[in-house]
């Protein structure tokens, strides 16, 4: 992959990793005795690995000018593999955490193995590690194809990917040694947050620079969604992480917000992370790969527009439904609730547009597990948004809040929607990227699909049951007017469901393991045929220098 870089880019890459190394060494020295020092070492080691990779490929012959006539896909390939590795890691930890809830003693008396530290390792691993890398990798692919333009340079896509994965690594390792700012989905401390800001601005600039070079008169819907994802995540990330470090040599910092303002800022962030990370980005993915794989035109351009603006507008107001029945003023809760209900309509427009696009291709959905992944994803997207709007209604939330119902909703969205759309996308994209006719094994794709379906259904049904039982037990009064169950009683009642969830989760976890094997074998296949298989499509000639 280094051989694709020009000599100048290789030199800049070495300089950048050298700068990172210096930064790591400074942190390691200045942060001695503080967890920051550990992170200094990790940064330095990471920089050495990156630099090593660049130097190893440094003397390879420089690429010719003909590289500019082809799309730049090396970062996409890299991102696909890394996303799969994160999927395996994150879901492994997810299943571990699931067993831990069923058998809470399973912590070997070690701090790092406690539930509170492993849980964010799971959420960060899957959302940012798996989901984020998948989004970045596919966005590079989609923006080039739909703009008929090459990425403007070959270095910034790598800066984004390498920097982003460093952020993920710092996040995950930080939780294990006890670093967190205790904001869900925004746990990493100030220095990791600053790193992500730099990465994200680079990403944003890369994206608009590519769009600016486009050869198509119009910007395709998928790009609107990817752009919304990049832009809004930047805003959310910066505002929610405003904090004052205790000192520059310590990991700890204090948020700029306090009390209920802090809670509201956090859930404005948290909900829009769901909206623009776990929804908008993946809708972008769906809008490209689903019609492509189905070979059908998008059902309605007009629905795309209404759906897009509805989703972006309504989501922004909905965050307060995470704080129903709290110290948050009632009017804020009511606003969030009503916007959440209205949000259902554009959400279903997007899901409906996807499913209607499949009209005329249902036989392919039946026969092709890859397309079936994407079709099921659209169904689960519809399902989880319906559920979400329902749960946002205050009286419903008074039952569902704090219970496993929320966890069921989360995983209907993340397993059924997010993961399935990614797997469907990857199984389409991998043969295109490595220029082979198809995946190494269709049977394994089929296996993956059914494991994912079974895992999702077991998970979600277990949590619905457990959540509703839990919610009811917490509010059942006896005829004397006092609560009928203690909290421990509800824990006992949940135990069987926790075991079921962990088993379902294990099935789901097997999916990416099989998937990575299948992808690696496909790559081997492409080496054997030396990429003589069919290309994704006749590359519309890119003029040199464009």
């Amino acid at each position: 992959m280094i051989s694709g870089l020009t000599l100048g880019e290789r030199q800049t890459a070495v300089c950048l990793s050298l700068a990172l190394l210096v930064l790591g060494v400074i942190f390691a020295g200045a942060g001695q005795g503080d967890p920051l020092g550990v992170h200094g070492f990790i940064i330095a080691a990471y920089a050495v690995v990156v630099m090593g990779a660049v130097i190893t490929g440094y003397y390879a012959p420089a690429p010719g000018a003909d590289r500019l006539t082809q799309y730049y896909d090396d970062p996409t390939k890299f991102g696909i593999i890394v996303a799969m590795l994160w999927a395996i890691f994150g879901m492994f930890v997810g299943d571990w955490v699931a067993w831990l809830l069923a058998y809470p003693d399973m912590t070997f008396d070690a701090a790092w193995a406690s539930f509170g530290r492993l849980r964010p390792v799971h959420t960060t691993g899957v959302i940012f590690g798996f989901g984020g890398n998948a989004l970045i990798a596919t966005s590079y692919h989609v923006v080039q194809r739909t703009s008929r333009a090459r990425l403007p340079d070959q270095l910034s896509p790598w800066v984004v990917l390498i920097g982003y994965n460093l952020f993920c690594l710092l996040a995950v390792s930080g939780y294990l040694i006890g670093i967190t700012q205790s904001k869900e989905y925004a746990e990493p401390e100030w220095y990791a947050d600053i790193l992500l800001v730099i990465v994200w601005v680079t990403y944003f600039l890369l994206y608009i620079r590519t769009l600016a070079r486009r050869q198509e008169p119009h910007i395709y819907v998928a790009n609107w969604y990817y752009m919304a994802f990049i832009l809004v995540v930047a805003v959310l990330h910066i505002v929610n992480n405003l904090a004052v470090p205790v000192s520059l040599t310590e990991a700890k910092s204090y948020s700029l917000f306090a009390g209920v303002q802090d809670a509201m800022t956090q859930w404005w962030y948290g909900h829009n992370a769901v909206a623009f990370f776990l929804t908008a980005g993946f809708l972008g993915m769906m809008y490209y790969y689903l019609p492509k794989r189905a070979g059908r035109p998008i059902y309605s351009y007009r629905m795309s527009i209404v759906g897009f603006w509805g989703i972006t507008f309504f989501y922004m107001w909905a965050g307060s439904h995470h704080l129903h029945y709290t110290a948050l003023p009632l009017w804020v809760q009511n606003l969030g609730m009503t916007f959440s209900v209205m949000l259902l309509v554009p959400s279903w427009i997007a899901a409906g547009n996807a499913l209607m696009t499949l009209n005329g291709a249902w036989t392919r959905v039946r026969d092709d597990a890859t397309l079936r992944f994407m079709a099921m994803a659209a169904v689960f997207y519809g399902l989880s948004t319906f559920e979400g709007s329902f749960m946002a209604i205050r009286p419903v939330n008074s039952l569902s809040h704090y219970t496993d119902w929320t966890i069921g909703h989360v995983h209907a969205g993340t397993l059924g929607w997010v993961s399935m759309i990614v797997f469907g996308t990857f199984y389409s994209l991998v043969p295109w990227m490595w220029k082979v006719e198809r995946m190494y094994s269709r049977k394994l794709v089929e296996w993956h699909f059914w494991l994912a379906m079974a895992g999702t259904l077991i998970y979600v049904f277990a949590m619905w049951n457990s959540g509703i039982i839990q919610g009811l037990m917490w509010r059942t009064y006896n005829d004397g007017g006092t609560l009928a169950y203690s909290f421990v009683d509800s824990l006992v009642a949940m135990h069987p469901y926790y075991i079921a969830r962990a088993v379902g989760g294990f099935l789901f976890f097997l999916g990416p393991v099989i998937g990575l094997y299948n992808i690696l074998m496909t790559i081997r296949l492409s080496r054997e045929t030396a990429g003589t298989g069919i290309a994704e499509m006749p590359v519309v000639a890119l003029k040199a220098g464009e």
Binding site: H218, K292, I298, R302, W331, N334, V345, A484
Partner: protein, 291 residues
Amino acid sequence: MSVEKRDPHTGYLTTGHDWNGIEELNTPVPKVIYICLGLAFAFALIYWLLMPAFPLGLTYTKGLLGVSQHSLIDADLQQAQTDQQTVTSKIATLSVDEVRADAGLMHYVRATAVPIFGDNCAACHGIDAKGGPGYPNLTDNSWLWGGDADAVLETLRVGVNDEQHDDTRVSQMLAFGRDGMLDRNALLSVVTYVQSLSKPDAGTVEAIGAGREVFAANCASCHGEKGAGSIELGAPDLTDSVWLYGGDTQSVFNTVYNGRTGVMPSWEARLSDVDRKILATYVLSLGEAGQ
């Protein structure tokens, strides 16, 4: 360039755009979507009119129903109180023994006490109230601080060794070994003697005899001449087979070597008078069942 095509399957025209082979149909937005949007908006609008919804600088729109989160919760609490009133007012005025004599009230006490006990006490005393090492069994009718209603009520109110409460019960088993009050031989013999009080064949006659002397000199002040304990000091009866910290040689040795200071939290600030009375009644009824 834009060339509109007709899709054979749906019959709609495309928009004429083509992105790497992806086309879009120009299908109009189905009417049902506008209807749903309208309905959702109408719902929101009505809700905004009736309930607090929008900020107005320093205040906010109050809504036609005049509801606030506080008025809602107050109404709920009021309702709960009236629901409970008839029974709880009776329990509040009657004595524990009178409550125990009333089958109807006892039915209520059991139903109510089980969840309160599960939420507040089970973490230490176990869901079945049978305790564990360091946490007394509440069902065995052997009491550190006395088994009449007043004693149990007082234990619940002030706790044991709880610094948070000024009137807390205080008790301490001294660390005879760690603080160097007894040497190793004396410790071993007194341990044997203590064990022999409930199990006569616990050791040799010499050891027991030596232990008896150590006991009389060091321990009897709290545990009594015969080792039967003291309810005033919370010192356990050592002659029965009930052990708080364990009766095997190692456990008894640890107790005498390191001392013990069991902490039972006070509940005066956390549970209402009636709830504490319900718990005391319940706990006492467990002991009765165990007889």
